[in-house]
Symmetry: C2
Subunit: 341 residues, 2 copies
């Protein structure tokens, strides 16, 4: 069984640029259309991320590619060659999503590295240097994804049905791939993931593309199958892991974590980078989105004009509800996170 | 504060007939259109119920009105005047939904009563008699709804935010109405209730019509608000209550009942008629619907062609997760149901 990374996770399909044109794979339209949102500058890139053109791990890849994009614009003389300006452009992007801090922390670390070199380089050398820095980080990320996939696979048993929410990207996809390559027979139930249907639109087609059996269910159905004994594992990504083992992930993750706990089913979260700056859950910067976003589904209203809605976009899952956190350093229980990061 | 029963619950808006034309208020289109599905005979009425034109308490009202509808067709000479035929027409209707047994049990009781009289009556007298039987039952139901509303209101505290799933009809609506009339300040969070959005389409507009503050949330968001301490009570209808206190209700009820239990929030189910023939949960006749029903939302696909889905339509809520069952005989703990029915 060969690994064929599904369409959505191939780097070129997440984003790329040509001159001033920055293209972001439009996850809001997938799988109905495979098109790209065109951004003309970093403000527009930030706006595209805010409006969910890309999400999950997408923004990190967009930010990494933007490091090269802006360096290239400097080399072409379109943006002034100055680190303050370079950094400001990047801050615009990394401030577009507050809750998931991986993008911000990764880019700020790289910016420090880049800042130390900029004075000794001309624009062409600078562009070349940034490309190297980004390529090195991408190699590192691919290694991390791969290791986490192997560790994730070790938690999956032959015959398991795995429930998941939203689009858990490389780490879950690779875990499932390695589990199957190890000869384990597996099946996935994918929550559709309202309001944007990432589960039905992104996860289910990606798993199908990889030959992994998948069924879509509504977000309210996970506990039905747990009660029936038809789910063996709840596996999700995480937008943030705090040092106290708190996991933040897409809204809809908490009810399944509570039900998994109630029915004695393990709950595993993937986190390639627990946030050492967040000691505990009180430090989470929670993104609240506009309730109007859920009042229309594919441009059709779901209720009468004038009725309002609430849209908290992330769930906070207290550490006691989480069984395993698969990280870049291995598998930990939530209580071990603080000591290992 | 005067009681104004909302549009959807007014008897004439649930169903009515003119000659052979039987009209069922189309809950699949509400609130976007206020139209009626036209049925030409009891087969078509059964089919309309199966396809969810009406749901919840609607089928009971449809079946009661059908008792008169068929009697009228007999009086007009369109249907042969024969109890076997009368009964067969009614069985077609009451077999259209297997899990909720209230319609079946109510109609079978009335049929026995009617059967005892039919030989002594001509068609005109029969029609008149059936009208009386149905009117008596409707009066009884209205009394039950009213009492349950008063009992339900007694469980609601001033300042409560009540979470609900699907469309809990008269009993919840009246409970909220009486709570407000008693001067209690209340608010409702209405789960949108995939796949048919009864929460956003039926519950939210009905509450708004009655002046009850309501916000729509996605089905996955209830536990978020429970964890925040922003929900004080989970209140739902029930399609079936067994003698062991098991509550069966719309899919999506279980995860909220588990979360309510986890966060120490009461879970109350309304049941105007616990089923004495169902000793325990093993006797539930579970309706499984076609997974395709959730793959399209307002005629727009939610995933790629060829990907499949599962649609269990009801949740089974074990008695230990339920705090109160408000019945026609008063408020009971689930463990008291067997002794009181």
């Amino acid at each position: 069984m060969d690994l064929k990374i599904p369409y959505l996770l191939r780097s070129k399909n997440i984003c790329y640029f040509e001159g001033t044109n920055f293209y972001i794979g439009n996850r809001k339209e997938f799988p109905f259309k495979k098109n790209f949102a065109l951004c003309k500058n970093t403000d527009e890139i930030a706006q595209a991320i805010k409006s969910m053109v890309t999400q999950g791990g997408g923004p990190l890849q967009v930010a990494l590619t933007s490091l090269i994009y802006v360096a290239n614009l400097m080399d072409k003389g379109i943006v002034e060659y100055d680190f303050e300006i370079y950094s400001k452009n990047m801050q615009t992007i990394i401030n577009s999503r507050p809750t998931n801090t991986t993008m911000k922390r990764t880019i700020n670390t790289l910016l420090k590295k880049i800042e130390a070199e900029i004075d000794s380089l001309n624009t062409e050398q600078f562009l070349h240097y940034v490309k190297e820095v980004v390529a090195e980080k991408e190699d590192e990320l691919n290694n991390i994804y791969n290791n986490m996939g192997l560790w994730g696979a070790s938690l999956i048993n032959d015959g398991d049905t795995i429930l998941t929410t939203c689009f858990a990207e490389h780490t879950l996809i690779l875990s499932l791939y390695y589990a199957m390559r190890e000869g384990k027979k597996i099946k996935v139930l994918s929550n559709e993931t309202r309001p944007y249907f990432q589960g039905s639109r992104l996860t289910a087609p990606s798993l199908k593309e990889m030959g992994i059996p998948v069924e879509i269910i509504c977000d309210s159905m996970g506990s039905y199958f747990m009660r029936q004994g038809e789910v063996n594992h709840y596996m999700i990504a995480s937008d943030l892991v705090c040092m106290d083992g708190t996991v933040v992930n897409k809204i809809g993750s908490l009810p399944n974590a509570i039900a998994a706990n109630y029915y004695g089913i393990p709950c595993t979260a993937f986190s390639m980078s627990p946030d050492v700056t967040k000691n505990d859950k009180s430090m989470i910067d929670m993104e609240l989105r506009d309730g109007n976003e859920l009042l229309n589904v594919f441009n059709h209203p779901i209720s009468e004009e004038g009725i309002t809605a609430l849209y908290p976009s992330f769930d906070v899952i207290d550490a006691n509800l989480v069984t395993n956190i698969v990280t870049n350093k291995g598998i930990f229980s939530p209580v071990q996170i603080g000591d290992n990061f």
